[in-house]
């Protein structure tokens, strides 16, 4: 059962990733990108970590993909595709992809990932949270600072002073 689901998810993820790159329609390309991100969320579900999977869905499919869709809809397509790709660029891209994948695969296989046993119970998010507030507290503080900084920055960006009180009567 898990193998069949894994295979189906792999096909969906890789297939929609290729579709996201190759489709001429930008909107359908970004929908295919959503398929890829959702497939990755499915992998997290298979790995018994629904916490990460739901965050993947909420953040990547729910926000990042919306951002990409929004950008694509507001930009005129002719401005992006000025140069038409030729055959040489295509083959160079394929060769680059193959080299990268082989190199990454070699690194993964060499790292001893085959000897890991998978009998251990899945890490629970409560334990992760506990270790974040005890041993790894500097990382937590750092993340909190970055998040607070980004939220403050977005608030500053969203606050526009220039059109203040122009249209109000009072």
């Amino acid at each position: 059962m898990a193998d069949a689901v894994f295979l189906a998810l792999t096909v969906i993820t890789i297939g929609s990733a290729i579709a996201a790159l190759e489709l001429r329609s930008l909107i359908y390309g970004s929908i295919a990108l959503m398929g890829t991100l959702g497939g990755i969320a499915g992998f997290f579900f298979l790995l018994d970590s629904p916490f990460v999977a739901l965050f993947q869905l909420a953040v990547y499919v729910g926000s990042i993909a919306v951002l990409i869709l929004f950008t694509v809809m507001l930009v005129r397509r002719e401005l992006i595709f000025k140069n038409i790709e030729d055959r040489r660029r295509k083959f160079a891209g394929l060769a680059l992809m193959l080299v990268t994948m082989v190199a990454l695969g070699a690194v993964f296989l060499d790292s001893g990932i085959k000897t890991i046993t998978t009998d251990e119970p899945a890490a629970e998010f409560r334990d992760i949270g506990m270790s974040f507030v005890t041993y790894y507290w500097p990382a937590l503080i750092l993340m909190a600072l970055i998040l607070a900084g980004s939220v403050t920055g977005s608030l500053v960006l969203a606050k526009r002073e220039d059109v203040e009180n122009d249209q109000r009567t009072s």
Binding site: F51, V66, M73, R160
Partner: protein, 432 residues
């Protein structure tokens, strides 16, 4: 005299009914019964208690309540019943349909109008059924230059996402379709799908007004998702769980709105914005952009989007109840079942009962559902109320409200929750 159907004649209406009955009986006699008998030649019926199960025997058993009631009881324990009928789609759609009618009638009363009046004898009570029939029988018109696959898929996806949201809501103890450990996170994930579906349907219509409405909806939903998520973190901090059933059960003594009123207010305002309701109904601003992103939908596609919208409204109101108003908790008002029903009664030589399969629902479930529905209807009333009172606000006011004020208030709420925990008011040693 009514002018709705001026050529209506009762005799012709009765004649048409009788005609239909005649044709049904005729076709059943000539085609139906022989078809069933031919089919029975080829189907092997099972043998139960040494008796061959014939259709006649099956119908006899179904007419016997002592055999039928356990079947119904077993049916109610299945997942199908939960998804389709009680805590899932059917229950929510019933409440949503009621909401549509109440909204129209209440809005009319607020504005000194009459509202739906003619359809049905009493206060236009059949108006909803008439609207549904009209929507089903209308032609679906697709714009010529629309992106057809996306345009067809959008209403279905919208209803699907709303139904997924409904499936996460616990209605009574143990009565929830999907009791997920990370229920609240799943809610956030499902909410994230609505802006995508909205903007895709708006784009695929290839028309001016839907696109403007879709862009507005995207702005509004994405910017109000952040205060929505932040305002619910306070409840997660004080309960220490993300499971909606556990959050609901943790409020048996007091609802969290007592301790976290700021979070409840922020959540209510963001809820209005996520539902695109007045005063935040910019995506559907009918006086500016026809009907916003719904402009090009016609017939049952529009009906599906409306159904999804009201399912979403029910789900948000129910989420407010579960998180802040105590969910199914409330004083026990359902009387206990009579003893004779459970153990049976002896009348001289005749002993009746106990009836297998009775009672169909236990007392706690009935009581929980009662309080849940009362509270949800109250919250829905408060969601509908601003529509009769407030004007629509400008989009820059909406965005500045979301990004500056509500996010700040949501952080205040989080600090209140942390303060309550660290001061020992809640948590171990405190009230709970």
């Amino acid at each position: 005299m009514s002018v709705i159907a001026p050529k209506f004649k009762l005799s012709e209406f009765v004649k048409s009914l009788l005609d239909n009955i005649f044709w049904v009986l005729l076709l059943m006699t000539i085609v139906g019964i022989p078809a069933v008998q031919i089919a029975l030649f080829y189907i092997e019926m099972p043998v139960i208690h040494g008796e061959l199960l014939t259709p006649f025997l099956a119908l006899t058993w179904l007419a016997d309540p002592t055999r039928l009631l356990p079947v119904i009881h077993a049916l109610m324990a299945t997942d199908f019943f939960r998804i389709a009928a009680f805590p899932g789609f059917g229950f929510a759609a019933l409440l949503a349909a009621g909401t549509i009618f109440i909204e129209r009638k209440m809005l009319a009363k607020l504005q000194l109008r009459v509202g739906p009046f003619y359809c049905g004898k009493i206060e236009g009570i059949l108006q909803l059924m008439g609207d549904g029939l009209k929507l089903i029988s209308k032609e679906i018109i697709i714009p010529a230059k629309a992106d057809k696959p996306l345009f067809w898929a959008a209403p279905v996806l919208f209803v699907g996402a709303a139904a997924a949201f409904v499936a996460l809501i616990p209605v009574a103890p143990g009565w929830v379709v999907a009791d997920v450990d990370m229920g609240l996170l799943a809610v956030f994930a499902v909410i994230g799908f609505f802006p995508i579906i909205t903007i895709l349907s708006a784009w695929s219509a290839n028309s001016k007004f839907p696109f403007i409405g879709g862009i507005r909806a995207l702005f509004q939903m994405v910017s109000f998702e952040i205060p929505l998520i932040l305002s619910l973190l306070g409840v997660v901090i004080v309960t220490g769980t993300l499971n909606l059933s556990e959050i609901s059960a943790s409020q048996s003594f007091f609802p969290w709105i007592v301790f976290l009123p700021v979070g409840a207010i922020v959540f209510f305002i963001t809820m209005l914005a996520e539902l695109e309701r007045i005063p935040f109904d910019l995506p559907e601003a009918e006086s500016e952009i026809v009907a916003g992103w719904l402009t090009e939908f016609s017939g049952m596609m529009y009906g599906l989007v409306q159904l999804g919208t009201y399912l979403k409204l029910y789900a948000f109101a129910a989420l407010f109840v579960v998180l802040f108003l105590g969910g199914w908790n409330g004083p026990m008002v359902v009387p206990p079942f009579p003893e004779e029903l459970l153990v049976g009664v002896e009348m001289g030589p005749v002993k009746v009962g106990p009836f297998p399969g009775l009672p169909l629902f236990d007392q706690a479930m009935l009581n929980g559902t009662f309080w849940f529905v009362i509270k949800t209807v109250g919250v829905i009333f408060f969601i509908l109320l601003p529509r009769g009172v407030f004007p629509r606000i400008r989009i820059d006011m909406l965005l500045s409200l979301g990004w500056t004020k509500l996010i700040g208030l949501a952080f205040v709420n989080i600090f209140i929750a942390l303060g309550l925990l660290y001061a020992g008011v809640l948590g171990p040693g405190g009230l709970q």
